[in-house]
C-alpha cells in the first residue's frame, strides 16, 4: 500500500515564472499522500503550503494534470474531501478543513465607510479563538524563526545557516542528528561536535531535526542572511506504546559514501559478550565484512585486510593495541564511548595511512549541567566513571577507569597455575571547553596497561598512552576548522627473572607525534569542500634485549631506532548535482620520509635479499632523509537515489600504508612488532572498487543493503619460511613482497526499531595472496595464489534484541564462519641424514568451521526519573551450545610419532553476570 513511490512518475514540463503569472503545473500523481504532494509542488514552484499534518493523513492524491494552474489542480485533488484551500499574493497556500481561509483583507478594510455598501463578494471572516494551551503545544510547529538580519524581502541567492544540535538536559552535542530541509529534499548530518552547516536559498524553509532517542523538532525558518540556528533536542522517553523514532533513518540510503557501518553504544551494549561487559570490538565483529582469526585474537580483518591495516582512532588518537588480555576484552571503556564508525570502503580523504579500514571511536562529552556517573561490576572487571561540569554550561569533564581483579581468582586455581598473574586497567580523561560560540577546545587522555604471566616465569606487558588536544574554530559560517596535536605511544616488554644468569628484558615501542588541521568549507548548497594537512612523526625502537639484574650475563642486543615523517595533504568535495545524484571525490597526497640516523643495508638487485647479498652498508646522520615515498590516493564515490528509500552507490578508493605490523605466527604472539617502510620495504598500496544497493522498507524501519567489492593490494608483506622477526637486524631479508586480491559480497538486513531489532548479515569474502617478488627463488605455493591466514569465505551473523517490556530484554547472537586456513604436514621423508617433515601447499587445509551462540538478559531497575540511582543487571551465557570451536591445530612429536591437536579457547558454555549502576 505504501508502494506508491514505485508507481510514481513525475515530471514537470513547465517551470515557474513570476508570481504574477500563474504557474502552470504538469505531472502525474499516483496514490501520493497529501503531504508528499504538497512537498513535490513546493519543490518545483514558488508556492508554500501551510497545513495541519493530522488533517491530511487519510488524503491521497490520484491525478494527472497537464499545464494547469495550482487552483485547478487543488480543486480536482480535493474533490470528495472536506479540504479547502486559499492562495495569497505571496504564493502562500493555506489548507484547511471545511472552511476556507481568506488570505487577504477586503479592499476597503482600512477605509471604513458606512456608505460603502456591502459588496456581493464579501467574504465572511472566520476568526478562530486559539486558547493559550493549544498555542503552546503547536508553538514549534507554527512559530517562525528568523535567521540573519531581517529584511523586507528575501534576498536573492544562497545563504549559510549554521548551528549546533545539543541535548537539552546535559548540553552534550548530538552527533549524526539529521537536519532535513523540506524544500530542498536535502539532509545534512551533524558532525562529531554536533555542528551542522546548511547552504540554502534565502526564503522560508521548514527544517526537521531528528536524532535517535530524541524528540523530533520542526522549525519554520525565515532565512534572510547568513546566521545561526541552534537546536536543543529533548530526550525521548517512550511512555506508552512503542514509538518509531526514525532518526538517521535514511542515512544509509542518502549518504554518498558506501561501506560505512555505524554502531551506537546502545546497540553495542545489546550484543552479548564473553564476560558480559559491553565490548566495542566484539560488536564490530558482528558487522558484515569484519572477521577475526580466532576468539582470543586482537586483530580485525576488514574486507580481506590484515590486522595492521586498520586505523583505530579514539577521539583522533591512534591506538595500536586495542585489546586487553590477549584480545579477550577490547581496550575501550564502553561507558564513555558515544559511537563507533567503521569505514570499510569510502574512507574519507582526511584519514589515511592504513589500507583496509578506519575504526573511528567517538567518545562522549561530559555532562555540562550536573555531576553524574556510573559504575559496573562484572565477574572479572569493574568500571567507574564520573562526569560533570567544571564551569557550568562551558566546561565539562569525564574521568573513567576500568580494572580487573583476576589475580585473586588465580590463587584459587590448581597449583600448576599458582604463579599466574593477569591484570589490566585503562583510564580516560576527557575535558571539553566551550570558549565561545565559535571556539571549542577538547582534551582526551588515555592510558591502558596489561600485564600477565600464565603459568610460566615470563611476564608480558604492554601499554597504550595517548594524549590529544583539539581546537575547533568557526572562521565564518561556511568555514569550519579543527586543529589538533597529539602524542600516541605503544610499548611492550617481556621479561623473565627466574634464572638470574639468563634474566632479560625484551622491549619494543612506538612513539608518534601527530599534527592535524582539518577544514570544512561550505561553498554553496551543492559543494562542500574538506581539506587539510596531517603529519605524523614516528619514532620506533624496534626491539632491545637487555640484561636484568646484576648477575645476568645476557648480552645486550639493541636494534637501532627508526624515525620517519609521514605527512599528507588532502582535498575533497561533496557535490550534490541534483537531490538524487551526488558525488564525493577526494584526493590525498601522502609523503613519507624515512630519516636517519641509521645504517641501511643495500642489496644486490634481482637476487633474494640475504645477508649474503648485501652490496653496500651506508650510514646516515640523525635527521638526514634516507629515502622518500610519496603518492596520490584517490577517494571517489557516487550515489544515485531512485527514490527516498532506494539508492545505488559506487566507489573507488586507494590507500597507502607506511607502517607494517610484522607477525608470522599463526597464533597470537604478544611480541608482534611494527616496522616502518624503508629503502628495502616499500609501502603497501591498496585499491578498492565497490558498488552497493540500499533499500529501506516499512517506513525506513528495515534497512537492507548489498555491497560488492574488489580490492587489490600491492607490496603486502609475507614472510619467508623460517623468518625471524624479533630482534632481527636485517628484517628485510625475511619478508617477501606479496600481492593480494580480495573480493566479496556483503548482505545486510537490519531492523532498527520495534520490539525486536537487530541484524542479520551474510558475508562472502576471499583474500588471496601471491608472491610476485621476482627475486624470490621459491615463492610460496609455487607462485600460485593462496589464501591468507584469515581467509574465511562464508560468514553468517545474526544479532537480535527482543524487548519484552521496558525493564526486560533478551539478546542473542549467532555466528557461523568457515574455518580458517592452515598449513599441515602431509608426510615425512628422510634426507641429508635426518627425518624431515613435508608440508602441503601453504594454507591448503582449513580448521573445522566455527559456530557460536550467545545469549544474555538485560534487566533494568525501575525507570522513575527522579530517583537518585538507576541500576541494571546483565546475565547471560557465552557459547551457549558449548561447542569446542578450534582456535588452532598443531602437531607435535610424541614417542617418535607426529600427533595433531586442536586447541579451543572457549570450550564450553560460559555464564556471566554484570551489575551496573548509574547516578
Amino acid at each position: 500500500m505504501r508502494n506508491w513511490f514505485l508507481l510514481f512518475l513525475f515530471s514537470f514540463l513547465a517551470s515557474a515564472g513570476q508570481a504574477q503569472t500563474p504557474v502552470l503545473i504538469s505531472g502525474r500523481f499516483v496514490h501520493l499522500p497529501g503531504v508528499r504532494f504538497f512537498q513535490q509542488i513546493e519543490a518545483k514552484t514558488p508556492y508554500f503550503f501551510y497545513y495541519d499534518r493530522s488533517q491530511l493523513d487519510s488524503v491521497f492524491v490520484n491525478l494527472t494534470v497537464n499545464q494547469q494552474p495550482l487552483t485547478d489542480i487543488l480543486r480536482q485533488a480535493f474533490t470528495g474531501t472536506d479540504l479547502q484551500f486559499a492562495v495569497d499574493a505571496q504564493n502562500r497556500v493555506f489548507i484547511t478543513r471545511k472552511t476556507s481561509l481568506i488570505p487577504s483583507l477586503p479592499k476597503d478594510f482600512f477605509k471604513p465607510s458606512a456608505a460603502s455598501p456591502k459588496t456581493d463578494n464579501t467574504q465572511a471572516f472566520v476568526t478562530n479563538k486559539i486558547n493559550s494551551q493549544t498555542r503552546k503545544a503547536i508553538a514549534t510547529d507554527t512559530k517562525i524563526y528568523e535567521v540573519g538580519l531581517k529584511t523586507n524581502t528575501f534576498k536573492e541567492g544562497n545563504v549559510v545557516v549554521r548551528g549546533y544540535v545539543r541535548q537539552a538536559k546535559s548540553g552534550e552535542p548530538v552527533i549524526n542528528a539529521s537536519v532535513f530541509v523540506d524544500s530542498l529534499d536535502r539532509n545534512v548530518i551533524t558532525d562529531q561536535d554536533g555542528y551542522y552547516t546548511l547552504n540554502l536559498s534565502a526564503g522560508r524553509h521548514r527544517l526537521h531535526v531528528q536524532s535517535l532517542g530524541m524528540k523530533d523538532k520542526l522549525y519554520n525558518v525565515d532565512v534572510y542572511n547568513d546566521g545561526t540556528l541552534n537546536v536543543e533536542l529533548e530526550e525521548h522517553v517512550a511512555l506508552l506504546k512503542e514509538v518509531v523514532v526514525s532518526a538517521q533513518k535514511v542515512a544509509n540510503v542518502n549518504r554518498v559514501q558506501l561501506g560505512i557501518e555505524r554502531l551506537t553504544i546502545e546497540a553495542i551494549k545489546k550484543v552479548p559478550t564473553v564476560f558480559g561487559e559491553a565490548d566495542i570490538l566484539r560488536a564490530v565483529l558482528t558487522l558484515p565484512g569484519v572477521k577475526t582469526v580466532g576468539e582470543a585474537s586482537t586483530g580485525l580483518n576488514v574486507r580481506g585486510g590484515s590486522a595492521d591495516q586498520n586505523l583505530v582512532l579514539m577521539n583522533g588518537a591512534t591506538v595500536y593495541n586495542p585489546a586487553h588480555f590477549f584480545g579477550m576484552f577490547s581496550a575501550f571503556n564502553p561507558e564513555i564511548v558515544k559511537d563507533v564508525e567503521l569505514y570499510k570502503s569510502s574512507i574519507p580523504a582526511k584519514f589515511g595511512g592504513r589500507l583496509s579500514s578506519v575504526l573511528d571511536i567517538g567518545l562522549r562529552e561530559g555532562n555540562k549541567k550536573a555531576i553524574t556517573g556510573s559504575a559496573g561490576i562484572g565477574v572479572v572487571t569493574s568500571r567507574f566513571n564520573v562526569e560533570g561540569p567544571l564551569v557550568k554550561d562551558k566546561t565539562s569533564f569525564i574521568l573513567a577507569g576500568r580494572s580487573t581483579y583476576a589475580n585473586w581468582l588465580l590463587k584459587l586455581l590448581p597449583e600448576s597455575y599458582e604463579n599466574s598473574k593477569a591484570s589490566f586497567y585503562d583510564a580516560n580523561v576527557i575535558i571539553n571547553h566551550r570558549i565561545n560560540a565559535t571556539n571549542d577546545l577538547s582534551f582526551t587522555g588515555y592510558s591502558s596497561n596489561d600485564r600477565f604471566n600464565l603459568a610460566s616465569d615470563t611476564t608480558y606487558g604492554y601499554r597504550n598512552l595517548n594524549f590529544n588536544l583539539r581546537w575547533k574554530h568557526h572562521f565564518t559560517n561556511q568555514l569550519l576548522a579543527s586543529f589538533s596535536v597529539g602524542s600516541d605511544r605503544y610499548e611492550y616488554d617481556v621479561h623473565s627473572t627466574k634464572n638470574k644468569v639468563n634474566a632479560y628484558t625484551l622491549a619494543f615501542d612506538i612513539n608518534q607525534l601527530n599534527l592535524r588541521s582539518d577544514f570544512s568549507y561550505v561553498v554553496n548548497s551543492n559543494h562542500t569542500l574538506e581539506f587539510g594537512m596531517n603529519a605524523i612523526r614516528y619514532n620506533l625502537r624496534p626491539g632491545s634485549l637487555q640484561s636484568r639484574g646484576k648477575e645476568s650475563l645476557v648480552q645486550p642486543n639493541i636494534i637501532p631506532a627508526e624515525q620517519a615523517l609521514e605527512s599528507a595533504l588532502y582535498l575533497s568535495d561533496r557535490y550534490t548535482i541534483t537531490s538524487k545524484f551526488s558525488l564525493s571525490g577526494g584526493i590525498r597526497y601522502s609523503f613519507f620520509h624515512y630519516l636517519g640516523g641509521k645504517t641501511i643495508n643495500y642489496y644486490a638487485p634481482g637476487v633474494p635479499k640475504d645477508e649474503a647479498t648485501v652490496v653496500e652498508r651506508r650510514t646516515y646522520k640523525a635527521g638526514e632523509v634516507i629515502n622518500t615515498y610519496h603518492g596520490a590516493e584517490y577517494r571517489f564515490s557516487a550515489r544515485y537515489a531512485f527514490s527516498q528509500s532506494f539508492s545505488i552507490k559506487a566507489g573507488f578508493n586507494s590507500q597507502r600504508q607506511y607502517i607494517h605490523m610484522l607477525s608470522n605466527t599463526a597464533a597470537i604472539a604478544p611480541t608482534d612488532i611494527w616496522k616502518l617502510s624503508d629503502p628495502n620495504i616499500r609501502p603497501q598500496q591498496g585499491n578498492q572498487v565497490s558498488i552497493g544497493f540500499y533499500k529501506n522498507l516499512k517506513a525506513n524501519t528495515i534497512e537492507t543493503s548489498v555491497e560488492f567489492y574488489y580490492k587489490k593490494i600491492k607490496d603486502y608483506l609475507d614472510y619467508k619460511p623460517g623468518a625471524e622477526l624479533v630482534l632481527n637486524h636485517h628484517i628485510e631479508t625475511d619478508v617477501i613482497n606479496t600481492k593480494g586480491k580480495a573480493y566479496g559480497a556483503e548482505l545486510m538486513l537490519k531492523k532498527t526499531s520495534g520490539k525486536l531489532n537487530g541484524w542479520i548479515s551474510y558475508t562472502y569474502s576471499r583474500i588471496l595472496l601471491q608472491i610476485d617478488d621476482p627475486s624470490t627463488a621459491f615463492p610460496v605455493n609455487g607462485g600460485k595464489w593462496y589464501p591468507a591466514n584469515y581467509d574465511k569465505p562464508h560468514d553468517v551473523t545474526a544479532v537480535g534484541n527482543f524487548k519484552i517490556n521496558h525493564r526486560f530484554s533478551i539478546s542473542m547472537n549467532m555466528t557461523y564462519s568457515t574455518g580458517r586456513p592452515i598449513t599441515l604436514p602431509i608426510g615425512r621423508f628422510y634426507y641429508a641424514g635426518s627425518q624431515r617433515v613435508l608440508y602441503a601447499d601453504r594454507n591448503s587445509y582449513r580448521i573445522p568451521d566455527y559456530f557460536r551462540t550467545d545469549f544474555s538478559m538485560n534487566i533494568d531497575g525501575n525507570h522513575k526519573v527522579n530517583q537518585r540511582t538507576h541500576n541494571s543487571w546483565t546475565i547471560g551465557v557465552y557459547n551457549l551450545t558449548g561447542r569446542r570451536n578450534p582456535y588452532s591445530v598443531y602437531y607435535i612429536s610424541e614417542n617418535g610419532l607426529v600427533k595433531g591437536y586442536k586447541l579451543s579457547i572457549f570450550g564450553s558454555a560460559i555464564p556471566f553476570v554484570n551489575f551496573n549502576i548509574k547516578f
Binding site: A666, A667, Y719, R828, Y830, Y831, A832, G833, V889, I910
Partner: protein, 372 residues
C-alpha cells in the same frame, strides 16, 4: 557457584581445551619420490638414494624405492646406467663426466613411472683450504675454509663423515663367555672402539656478498661440551661440493623448513620444489635437488688434550661380585666383569655396567680405521 564460575573461566583461559585432531591426510599426497644424491663429476663413486615420503605418523624411518632403473644422460651423448645396490641405493663406481657439460638423470620406477631431472652442469669444486675449529660458548665448532681464484663457485655445500675413538671406562682383562663362565683375556678386551657418524644437517654457504670467492670459517658442525666424540680423539672428513644458485636456495629452504619448525608459535612452513619432475604425471611432486659436481675432501684430527682437555664423563659404578655362579648370574649380562681381585681372601669379580666395560656396547666398532 562462584567456585564453578572461576573454574569455568580459567579452564578456558589457561588450560583451554586440547583435543586430538586427526590430520586430514590423503594417501596420494604422502607418497612422493625423494631423490638424494650428486652425480660425481670427479673421481669416485656416485650414489643416488631413492625413497618415498611416508605418512607423518608412520612408524617407518625410510621407505626405500627398489627395482628402479636409473640412467645418467649427457646432453652431448652418453648414457650411463646405475646399479642397484639395495636399500634404495643406486651406484656407479665412476661416472665419466666432463666439467661444463650438461647431464640429467632419468628414473623409471618399478611401477613404470618415469622421472626426469633438468639438465645440470657438471661443476668442478675447489679444494678445501683448511678445516679449522674453535671452542666457543660451551661447544666446539668446526669450520670449512676454501676459495676459488676464478670466483666461479660462490655456493658451497658440505657433508662430513665423523670418526671418533672411544675407550671403555674400565679396561677389562676378563670376559664373560657364556652362562656364568668368566675367562681371562690376554690383552685388554673390547676396550678400544671407533664410532662413525654422517652429517645430519644441511650445511650450505655462499660467498655472493664478497668481492672474492673466499669461504672463511663457515661453521659446519657443533659439538656440545661433554660429548663422547672428543673423549679420546676425533676425526672429521669434510666433503665439499659446489652448487648452483638454485640448488643453494633449495637446500637453504629445506633447512629452514625442516630444522627450525615444530611448535605453534613457529613460522609457517612452505613447500619445496626441486629440479626433478615426474613426466608420466606432471602433477606429482618430487622431492630433492640433483646436483653434479666433483667433491673435494679434507680430514683433520682433534685430540681431547688439544680440545682444552675435553671432558667426557660416564657413570660407572663398580660392583664386587663373589666368584660363585649364583652371584654372577644376577649381574651378567647387564654388568660385565673386568677384573678378579680378592678382599681378605674372598675372591670377587669387579663388575661394571656393560657400556663401561665393552665399548661395542656403546655402538663402537673394534676395527681401527685405516687412517687412524
Amino acid at each position: 557457584m562462584r567456585k564453578l564460575f572461576i573454574c569455568l573461566f580459567f579452564l578456558f583461559l589457561l588450560a583451554s581445551c586440547r583435543d586430538e585432531y586427526e590430520l586430514p591426510l590423503r594417501e596420494t599426497d604422502v607418497s612422493l619420490l625423494v631423490v638424494e644424491g650428486t652425480l660425481n663429476a670427479g673421481q669416485g663413486m656416485t650414489t643416488i638414494t631413492l625413497s618415498r615420503t611416508v605418512k607423518v605418523n608412520d612408524a617407518a624411518t625410510i621407505k626405500p624405492v627398489l627395482r628402479a632403473a636409473l640412467t645418467v644422460e649427457g646432453k652431448n651423448g652418453g648414457n650411463y646406467a646405475l646399479n642397484e645396490t639395495g636399500n634404495g641405493q643406486y651406484t656407479l663406481a665412476q661416472l665419466p663426466l666432463t666439467f661444463g657439460e650438461e647431464y640429467r638423470l632419468r628414473i623409471r620406477t618399478a611401477d613404470n613411472k618415469e622421472y626426469l631431472s633438468d639438465y645440470i652442469v657438471a661443476r668442478q669444486t675447489p679444494a678445501i683450504d683448511a678445516v679449522t675449529w674453535k671452542i666457543e660458548n660451551e661447544k666446539l665448532i668446526i669450520y670449512a675454509n676454501s676459495h676459488d681464484a676464478s670466483n666461479n663457485t660462490r655456493y658451497y655445500k658440505w657433508d662430513f663423515d665423523e670418526t671418533w675413538e672411544i675407550r671403555s671406562y674400565y679396561t677389562a682383562f676378563y670376559r664373560w663367555l657364556s652362562g656364568t663362565t668368566i675367562v681371562p683375556t690376554i690383552s685388554a678386551y673390547n676396550s678400544r672402539c671407533w664410532k662413525y657418524a654422517k652429517s645430519n644437517t644441511i650445511n650450505v654457504g655462499s660467498t655472493v656478498q664478497l668481492q672474492s670467492d673466499v669461504v672463511s670459517e663457515a661453521p659446519v658442525q657443533f659439538i656440545p661440551f661433554g660429548s663422547e666424540k672428543l673423549g679420546v680423539r676425533y676425526s672429521i672428513l669434510l666433503k665439499q661440493q659446489t652448487l648452483t644458485r638454485e640448488a643453494y636456495e633449495y637446500f637453504n629452504l629445506m633447512k629452514k623448513n625442516t630444522e627450525s619448525i615444530g611448535s605453534i608459535f613457529d613460522p609457517q612452513p612452505s613447500e619445496l620444489k626441486g629440479n626433478i619432475k615426474c613426466i608420466s604425471n606432471p602433477d606429482e611432486g618430487v622431492l630433492g635437488f640433483l646436483t653434479a659436481s666433483s667433491f673435494t675432501e679434507k680430514r683433520i684430527f682433534i685430540t681431547a688434550q688439544e680440545a682444552n682437555n675435553w671432558r667426557f664423563s660416564q657413570y660407572c659404578p663398580m660392583e664386587k661380585v663373589l666368584n660363585e655362579p649364583d652371584s654372577i648370574r644376577i649381574w651378567v649380562p647387564g654388568y660385565l666383569p673386568f677384573n678378579l681381585d680378592n678382599f681378605n681372601g674372598v675372591e670377587y669379580y669387579a663388575m661394571a655396567p656393560a657400556s663401561c666395560v665393552d665399548c661395542t656396547k656403546r655402538g663402537g666398532d673394534l676395527n681401527m680405521p685405516s687412517y687412524w
